[in-house]
Symmetry: C2
Subunit: 436 residues, 2 copies
């Protein structure tokens, strides 16, 4: 049988990885897929560079629409990124009856509803394993491996840049700014790292996971997003003393009231496997009612790890593109007519536990006032750490770990604490997840 | 559409888990699969107990063949275990045109070639996610998630009983016999634990993984199998001092000469995630040339975790049973006409590194003799630990970690060391895997 024809939109880091891995492992992939998979066209603005990457056998164009318009092309791989032109091209490819493979988490988290609806209408596949956690087959695990389960929650380290920075801060006692500069120097963070360090990239991925875990539409606009830019080295140190590590987690959780969807730094017990995921690695924990806890670990970014996921999608599409959609896995794991309307909860309705650091005057009665406010709000204290004030110092750090409470309640109590005359600086609040 | 009809052969721990999870999550599973999945018949020798488990709506029989002969049954789930009657029934079900889901690793590792050939001829699916690592979707990851990769090696903790025993030995400094009794008392080990503690169960699973990773037939008879019964508490302690933990690993690896397939205790660097997998949990590391290292973690046994895998297979079969086999994932990941004839290597050809413990006379020249033998065979020493002899003691332990060497060479050197007059007891040899 003739090889299936693939057109790449964009050949940067991931695109060249896809080309190289497909070429290197073509025999092995053919033995698995039963049909060859061949990149026959590439669109890139820098045609000279693109042509030098793929050699003379591949047609290189500067107009992506030439690929979409080509009737010989079966699958369009979108690797442009962002939600501008990428969105238009993906929609046009779908309208042209092409199957689409994309690594574009931003696009799917924001415009997924429109895209999947169009794909459903046209009967084409849109595959996106590479959009979450790079080479880790987490989309497949969620959509197919855990279908027996009512999924309870997912918590993942799904941004390698921030995990690298946090690992450096802990290992070397660095402050955020210094660790960020190191990460940039070493190629782990981009020149403009905003999307990574502010948690936006992780929130895109968490949004996609929440949809396929719970059968809700993608709702990036409802996600709570907090990055790591305000984390201080001393909080990492205090957390360590209390038996925790701080990780940027993407969390989505089913509760009686609705779905939690949030990205923020969190204390995680040091003994959990996920707390020991270091450097730029990714890991996702999934809690299902039947299977219990599972964890998936690997490289979340990079040329060939991401290509691994793109090509797995190409093999799936090669296998299933000619069958009726009823035989394929639904785009968002649940049948389009069986989606849930469970609301995504505002952050004030989230229930979790907290780490609080208060800079307080070293005088009698401070502790009583602070704990009094917690008690009045019905918040129990799980652990407390008060540093002995240094010689001559008149203030000290008071660290409190709480049990679970509604975030809205905690906000009120923090505001009250902040009003105490003996609380001398803005209170630091970091959420704590036991992940048990 | 009418629900797909499932018949269970055997309703013990796993079978009742399948029934309960399917019932509890029927709405969620229907929303995913697009079609109901219903257990309509159960065969079990204890019909009264079976009927009480499934209630009056399900037909319970004592003759499994009544299920196979029933034209309304679409899928037969084999949960009998072993390779006696289970093999006959699976073959008969296939011949009757039924799709089969099984958790039976022993059956597939030993008779897989015959079973998959028959299934291929009849055009039916045989799904077996539950056969390896319980609820962890590792079969799906290997067969579908990592199709882009030339897989280099797999190393897994794939037997919960032995991992529980090893965790207890390390935590509490217990000897093997004591830890085994604890495991039996707590329900983590069976009354006859032979298959678990001798490594046979892990070898069944490693055999299945080797086939789907490398596209070779299942060859359990070629697997090297060594259990944990001879492990001493002191080796666990010495390993710890050297920065390692001892785990029972199922390993399969592609080399230029052929495929390694082996189960044995191994020292693993303590900093590796897999070294920190404790208790009855399972974890599998997979190294692919594109994706790098990935790891999959979860419960490897138990009623509902195993049911999770069985039901995921039921959903896959529900989706794909009416399409042509070309649209399905091949049973062993590679197309039946594209299997590899790479040989499984004898253990003497395996190349790995070693931990050696020698009980030696505490006298001058011993170390020179021992290291002389290693040097003569071209084996480099990675680390060494010699305990100071206790007061009045005339012998001591000498621990050596080596670099990589062919097992056959190491066997010769150990025999030579054993012949030294100053080596006072049988030498302990444990393999060491860096997993990097």
């Amino acid at each position: 049988m003739k090889a299936i024809q693939v057109g790449l939109l964009g050949i940067g880091t991931v695109g060249s990885g896809v080309y190289n891995v497909l070429k290197r492992n073509q025999h092995e992939i053919l033995r698995r897929a039963g049909r060859g998979i061949e990149i026959t066209m590439v669109a890139d603005l820098d045609t000279a560079r693109a042509q030098s990457l793929v050699g003379p056998g591949v047609r290189v164009v500067d107009d992506a629409r030439a690929i979409i318009a080509n009737p010989d092309i079966d699958i369009v791989v979108e690797l442009i990124g962002g939600y501008g032109i990428a969105r238009q091209l993906v929609m046009e490819a779908i309208e042209a009856g092409k199957h689409v493979v994309t690594a574009n988490k931003a696009l799917l988290a924001v415009h997924g509803t429109e895209i999947f609806a169009a794909a459903h209408r046209k009967g084409v596949m849109v595959a996106f394993e590479a959009a979450v956690a790079g080479g880790i087959p987490i989309i497949k695990a969620l959509r197919e491996g855990l279908t027996a389960n009512s999924i309870e929650w997912i918590a993942g380290i799904i941004n390698g840049t921030t995990n690298f920075i946090l690992s450096e801060m802990r290992d070397k006692g660095l402050d955020f700014d210094v660790a960020l500069k190191d990460a940039q120097r070493l190629g782990y963070a981009e020149a403009d790292p905003t999307f990574d360090i502010e948690g936006v990239d992780a929130a895109h991925k968490a949004t996609i996971m929440s949809a396929i875990a719970f059968g809700i539409p993608v709702q990036f606009d409802k996600a709570y997003v907090e990055g790591i830019t305000r984390l201080a080295a001393q909080d990492i140190k205090y957390a360590e003393q209390l038996g925790y590590r701080i990780k940027l987690l993407g969390i989505t959780k089913r509760t009686a009231k609705g779905i939690e969807l949030r990205v923020h730094p969190a204390l995680v017990p040091s003994k959990r496997l996920i707390a020991n995921v270091e450097g730029a690695m990714n890991a996702v924990m999934v809690q299902g009612d039947a299977v219990g806890t599972t964890l998936y670990y690997g490289k979340g970014a990079g040329s060939e790890p991401t290509a691994s996921a793109v090509i797995a999608d190409l093999v799936d599409v090669t296998r299933l593109h000619t069958v009726d959609a009823a035989h394929r896995v639904p785009h968002l794991a649940f049948q389009p007519d069986a989606m849930s309307d469970a609301p995504v909860l505002p952050m004030t309705e989230v229930v979790t536990s907290y780490y609080l650091r208060l800079r307080v005057a070293d005088e009698a009665g401070v502790l009583a006032k602070v704990t009094g406010l917690l008690a009045a709000a019905g918040i129990s204290v799980d652990a407390m750490l008060q540093r002995e004030a240094g010689e001559g110092e008149k203030q000290t750090d008071l660290i409190i770990l709480t049990h679970s409470v509604r975030e809205g309640t905690m906000n009120d109590v923090i505001a009250q604490m902040q009003g105490l005359a003996t609380v001398l600086a803005p209170i630091t609040r970091i959420r704590k997840e036991e992940l048990a």
